[in-house]
Symmetry: C3
Subunit: 346 residues, 3 copies
């Protein structure tokens, strides 16, 4: 597809600076872009790469555009505008509806004629698959699961029984939805009695779930992922967790059982959130943070120790174990000095 | 299935309070339970939800039952009793023994006629599968592996060659057992020489292994998971690790190679345990803890920094890097004050 | 295979101590080795197990060999020598080239007659598979992907479209290469606009990728894993990351998007590395370290708090939140004492 800069401005509700007839046929990063490609800068930090870029046009904010001599697409939100530009040049390829003959589908499953079921997919009884759904090769869909309109499962996804997935949601390869939650009751002989996990997982619409992420079915009731939630790769969501609308969670985060996460939160990669907690709406948690109590107010929360040269770290980490003692010594010294001031020296 | 409270008391060796003829047909959480459902409270913290619950009966300890006016099933261990109640209402559905025609099974594999092999399973030569085993769709079982009686593999499990799994064990979707351990010898040209991993993985009976958990085969000998061990999702177990009986490990924990973990330990989610360590029996390690030396005595061990408001964390984390210096300053001040006391002021 | 110690010395360019005609038929760890098996000690710490071992021969450094009375294979690098010995006894079993009839292969895919495609593999259009490649059962290879000579995919690997894998590379089960990177632009209504991930993943030669590791495709351009890189299990590599030659990364590490990691680095398990950073060549990062800024110089870097008895940890961790205050108090005390010295007491 070839588009003029002018046409692109129209499609993205942006303004043109420079040559509106400039022809564009794709997107690329500032460093790698060449003739016919459009790029973007949203972070002023990367401004320095701007003049050196060989891109035929660049998406810029009004401020950055001022100093730029080349062709620009000007928009107050250059990041979102670029995202839309990528979508314009890379329309999603919709495969022809097809049920591959190697797929194994239970008689009682109801599959839309507008759905695509790839090779070696296994679909159990009473599954419902709506229009425009794409199920990638080798995926498994357990009994009574429902995939609403336009859901996409990439290859090798596992949905265990009774999983519901709302429209337009995307689940990446290796994700496992609806495995048993981790519930065991201790017995006198030290063995563990398995608590059957008889709930399910309900995923809203416009959700994205990353590769190898796991979301456990509820012990009782449902584990719930609300509309618009975005989960990166290798996230673990325990049983009976609920995650509120438009919350976004980066790779490797862990959320233990029964925790409720609010709406429009942002949780960094590798964050670990304990069980039975409540996280308010609009909470931002840094990557690698350790959360072991509820967060009742919106705000930015962090924890963790960042790297330093190993030798120094060894000394500081050793002192951490003396921290309580150090604090007490400081108080003692303070008191002594105060006593002196009041007494001896006056 | 409909049971009276009285019958349920008999099956779980509990006592009835209230109407023993009350009819029950399922389990549910305290908040969501309604007519005909039984719920439970084991943690006195949740006592407040008790009176508001619409459950027809509740499993309670004798103490909590005293103040409760509704129907109750009384047992000293309400959690375990409720777990048993769930099992009573949700008997495991045992599929009819069947080898799905799409399964690809080597001629030399020995499969019990009482086993169930689902669609698209691949079974390599010399595998042995005993009675009542269920192999979920799309799973792979490498050569010479053995699955003892009543083992259940959920869909899309991978067992590499020579894996042994003891009776009644359950392995969830996406788990990979017996991939190569991570062993490389450095070479002069900075490249790494792969050390072939020629051992295997041995899993005991009554073990549960979570979704997307990985357990590496030993370099030499065996990686061993003892009877009754419970592993949650996304756990990584390195080569030549051994985990003792009835130890339970929560999601996302990492155990590096050759570490030996004792019996009946409890290890929290996201804990990271270094290689070549020994952890004694009955050790409890908190979630997110960092273990880089052996633990020789039973007890509760923890580490980590919990979240605080980001601005405060920045200041405190910066001070961590001055900790050793701070400790030295405190000592110097202490010494100075002591000298004064002994000298100048007397 | 049976080899004399003498023959083995010749094959590994080592020296014999003791009986060169001693017959060996396998490798085993020091503790478990018996008649006919050869073992090794590279870490002097394990010297104590040496005399007790029943191994017929042991690979040793010249120093350790001096005190050892048994048969030894002497080499300055006993670890590498042992690794080579394992390879000698366990030659890789190369399956006969074969395309299993259950594999589903697009007409336009080009598959070498010297390749092995196992059961239930799915290969999309325009894939190229070179000589001696082995694709394990149930693996998926997306369109236009290329697997160079002697690549091995274990069962149930997922390569999404346009992935390139260099010769001799190994990818373990459950790994997902080329899933979408995690990129969303915020919108005014709090929802997230998906940024199509139109790049790919390029993996060099002699790379190893562990079980359930995920490597995301680039947003634009390529995520790049250079020659000789070794990645353990459950590692997450974000979009547009590049990892330099011969860098080795242990299990559970997370590398956020657009970060560039240098050559011959060593990164410990569960390390978390933020996005858009640059890590120099020859950097060593400890396990569980938290990296949120670039590292410009080679060296060893660490962070984290190691476990202590829970009660002590609670006290010390509480003090961490007062650290900035403590530091200020120390400064105040110091100042006061100095003033006194200059003033009052003179």
């Amino acid at each position: 597809m070839i588009l003029t800069l002018e046409k692109l401005a129209e499609l993205t509700e942006s303004k043109v600076k420079g040559d509106g007839s400039c022809q564009l046929q794709g997107v690329m990063s500032l460093e790698e872009a060449g003739e016919g490609q459009i790029s973007f800068v949203s972070n002023p930090k990367y401004k320095k790469h701007l003049e050196a870029s060989k891109a035929s046009a660049v998406v810029l904010s009004p401020v950055l555009a001022k100093d730029y001599s080349g062709n620009a697409l000007i928009n107050d939100d250059p990041y979102l505008t670029f995202a839309k530009t990528v979508s314009i040049f890379h329309t999603k390829k919709i495969p022809l509806p097809l049920i591959h003959p190697s797929a194994v589908i239970a008689d009682s499953a109801v599959i839309s004629k507008q759905a695509t079921i790839a090779a070696n997919v296994v679909i159990e009884p009473d599954v419902v698959i709506e229009d425009e759904v794409i199920v990638g090769a080798g995926s498994f869909i357990g009994e009574r699961s429902v995939l609403k309109k336009n859901v996409q499962l990439y290859p090798n996804v596992t949905l265990n029984s009774d999983t519901k997935v709302g429209k337009n949601s995307i689940i990446h390869s290796g994700a496992v939805i609806g495995a048993d939650g981790f519930g065991f009751a201790p017995q006198k002989d030290k063995s563990w009695y398995k608590i059957l996990q008889v709930g399910n997982v309900i995923i809203g619409s416009d959700v994205e779930i990353g590769a190898n992420t796991t979301i456990d079915r509820a012990a009782l009731g449902s584990t719930e992922i609300a509309n618009g939630v975005k989960l990166d790769n290798q996230i673990q969501v325990g049983h009976n967790v609920s995650i509120g609308e438009h919350t976004i969670i980066a790779g490797g985060a862990l959320i233990a059982g029964s925790t409720q996460i609010g709406k429009t939160c942002q949780i960094g990669g590798a964050a670990a959130i304990g069980g039975h907690l409540k996280i308010a709406d609009n909470v931002i948690i840094s990557g690698r943070a350790m959360v072991i109590s509820s967060i009742n107010e919106a705000g930015v929360y962090s924890s963790g120790i960042v790297i330093e040269e190993n030798k120094k770290w060894r000394r500081n980490a050793a002192r951490f174990r003396q921290l309580d003692e150090m604090a007490k010594t400081i108080k003692r010294l303070e008191k002594k000095l105060e006593e002196r001031e009041e007494g001896g020296l006056s």
